[in-house]
């Protein structure tokens, strides 16, 4: 197996846009911070405004990243469990799970998010304790479920592509169905599942900004606030482009990493 060298050119290619874009952002902000935002505005209204609003925008952007990661982690664990369930011997369970997966996959993110946001309370009072359920948690709840549906499909597809002999071998040494899945099948499937998994993560990272429509203070919300606060039409495109480049830089890393891993998988099997 080829280990990845630190000087591997393909690794550098993955982070090249990100280094350039976030580097430029840092330079822009520092220029304004050190030289004074008003000074920068006097030279270029666009650069000055972008520079001054960078911290708020960055805070929102980090929230988007956090929401994606949290939803991704919970959704993946949930998805593996549901994926296992979809392989069940029970026809009834398979049908129910199939229905749930179809429902979750075929509902627009925005619709599902509205449903969760409106239909669930702000906090749960169980026993004597109060568990808060803020909008951010609702977003994570909503996306975790959707991600789990996609992951379940990936798991099902990968397991179905595993030779039946593996299952049979597991049975002959007396393992339970769940143990076979956990100890034999899943580890074999993992490398094959990583590229589609990263695709899902990249997809949901692009969907997360819809949270701004239920009042989450993310990058898109702050961009809107900045634009209305500045009240200058010529700043609308720069602000949205600014935020777009950040999303691009981050998602690009996922895209190229996926491609890199896909190539490695191909090399291993060919």
């Amino acid at each position: 197996m080829n280990a990845i060298q630190p000087s591997d050119p393909s690794l550098w290619k993955i982070v090249r846009p990100a280094t350039f874009i976030f580097g430029a952002t840092a330079v822009l902000y520092l220029t304004g911070y050190i030289g004074g935002f008003d000074w920068l505005r006097s030279h270029s209204l666009m650069l000055g405004a972008l520079s001054e609003w960078t911290p708020s925008l960055a805070q929102g952007f980090l929230l988007d990243i956090w929401l994606t990661i949290a939803s991704g982690m919970i959704g993946t664990v949930l998805g593996v469990i549901i994926g296992y369930g979809s392989l069940s011997k029970s026809e009834y369970l398979r049908r129910v799970i199939w229905l749930c997966i179809q429902f979750l996959r075929n509902t627009p993110g925005l619709v599902f998010l509205f449903a969760v946001a409106f239909a669930t309370p702000y906090q749960f009072d169980i026993g004597g304790t109060t568990i808060p359920f803020p909008p951010e948690a609702k977003v994570i709840f909503c996306f975790s479920l959707k991600i789990s549906a996609n992951i379940a499909e990936i798991v099902r597809g990968a397991v179905n592509a595993t030779p039946v002999g593996q299952w049979e071998a597991g049975i002959t040494i007396g393992l339970s169905r769940f143990k076979i899945f956990r100890l034999i099948i899943l580890p074999q499937c993992l490398p094959r599942m990583v590229p589609p998994w990263m695709n899902i993560m990249a997809l949901f990272f692009s969907v997360v900004p819809i949270a701004s429509l239920i009042g989450i203070e993310d990058a898109v919300t702050y961009a809107g606030l900045a634009i209305s606060s500045e009240d200058t039409s010529t700043l609308i495109m720069p602000f949205y482009l600014y935020v777009l480049t950040w999303f691009f830089a981050t998602a690009y890393i996922l895209q190229e990493a996926t491609r890199f891993l896909e190539k490695r998988n191909e090399e291993k099997t060919s």
């Binding site: 001054e52 609003w53 911290p55 708020s56 805070q59 409106f118 669930t120 309370p121 702000y122 906090q123 009072d125 109060t130 803020p134 909008p135 429509l213 239920i214 009042g215 203070e217 702050y222 809107g224 606030l225 900045a226 634009i227 209305s228 606060s229 009240d231 200058t232 039409s233 609308i236």
Partner: protein, 262 residues
């Protein structure tokens, strides 16, 4: 029917508390739902801090309650829902006191600001009287209580956006003939925003309405409502509310002036 659904909604999502006021005092913080895009009533600076006339008012109220003020950004579309779900304790967000809303939430009286409905249109607009709105295309904000009645009355199409900045951006593009919104907010923004200098309010305002603080119905919020009522009454009586309005350029509001020092 409406109240039945409203009650159903409320009882299934309202948090179980003995007394909202006691909880607020215990937590040491009162959570206000405020706007973030209505200059100069409630907006944010580049650091994301809430500022404006309603913010000043909220700080005063919190001070009188002996607690700190916490601000959650709300929109016309989600402020009532947030209050019902318990995410905020009080709505202080350009909330018009209408009979339909009174069924769902408790409006704190006395009211604190006077308003009406109007439209904003470009200078050369062909709209001269309200009747000209027939079959027109209007921009609006989601959650405004006059959207549906006006759409029905004038057979107009109301394109509802997330907030006033988005609606005004659409108006500037020519996506609609006029922006249907609060008379006071349109007036002040047209006077203060440089980009709106070629825009006018072609009609006389109609359907006056008053703004109020909003809290939940029921015993849990009763003591809170009573206390807030007293604070607002005092704000008018002492003339302090009018004082607060001055630095934001809002001291010209007829309702404020009529009720100050009374």
């Amino acid at each position: 029917m409406l109240s039945a659904v409203a009650v159903l909604g409320m009882t299934s999502v309202a948090p179980a508390q003995a007394d909202k006021l006691a909880d607020i005092k215990k937590a040491g913080v009162v959570k206000f739902g405020v706007k973030a895009d209505i200059k100069p009533w409630a907006y944010v600076d580049s650091a994301g801090k809430h500022i404006g006339f309603e913010i000043d008012m909220a700080q005063h109220v919190a001070g009188k309650l002996g607690v700190k003020a916490d601000f959650t950004t709300v929109t016309s579309a989600n402020r009532i829902q947030y209050l019902q779900q318990g995410k905020i304790d009080v709505i202080l967000a350009t909330l018009s006191d209408t009979p339909k809303r009174r069924k769902i939430i408790k409006m704190v009286h006395p009211n604190y600001f006077g308003d009406a409905t109007n439209v904003l249109a470009p200078k050369g607009t062909k709209l001269k009287t309200w009747a000209d709105l027939k079959d027109s295309v209007l921009c609006g904000v989601q959650g405004s209580f006059y959207n549906k009645p006006f759409a029905k009355e004038y057979n107009a199409e109301v394109k509802a956006f997330k907030g006033p900045p988005e609606a005004i951006a659409a108006l500037k593009q020519g996506q609609c003939q006029a922006f249907l919104f609060s008379d006071q907010i349109l007036r002040i923004q047209q006077e203060t925003e440089a980009s709106l200098k070629d825009y006018v309010l072609p009609f006389e305002p109609r359907d006056s309405d008053l703004w109020a603080l909003g809290v939940n119905h029921g015993d849990k919020d009763a003591s809170l409502a009573k206390l807030l009522s007293g604070i607002v009454k005092d704000l008018h009586k002492s003339g302090k509310l009018l004082e607060m309005a001055k630095p934001h350029g809002l001291a010209g509001n007829p309702y404020l002036r009529a009720h100050a020092n009374k």
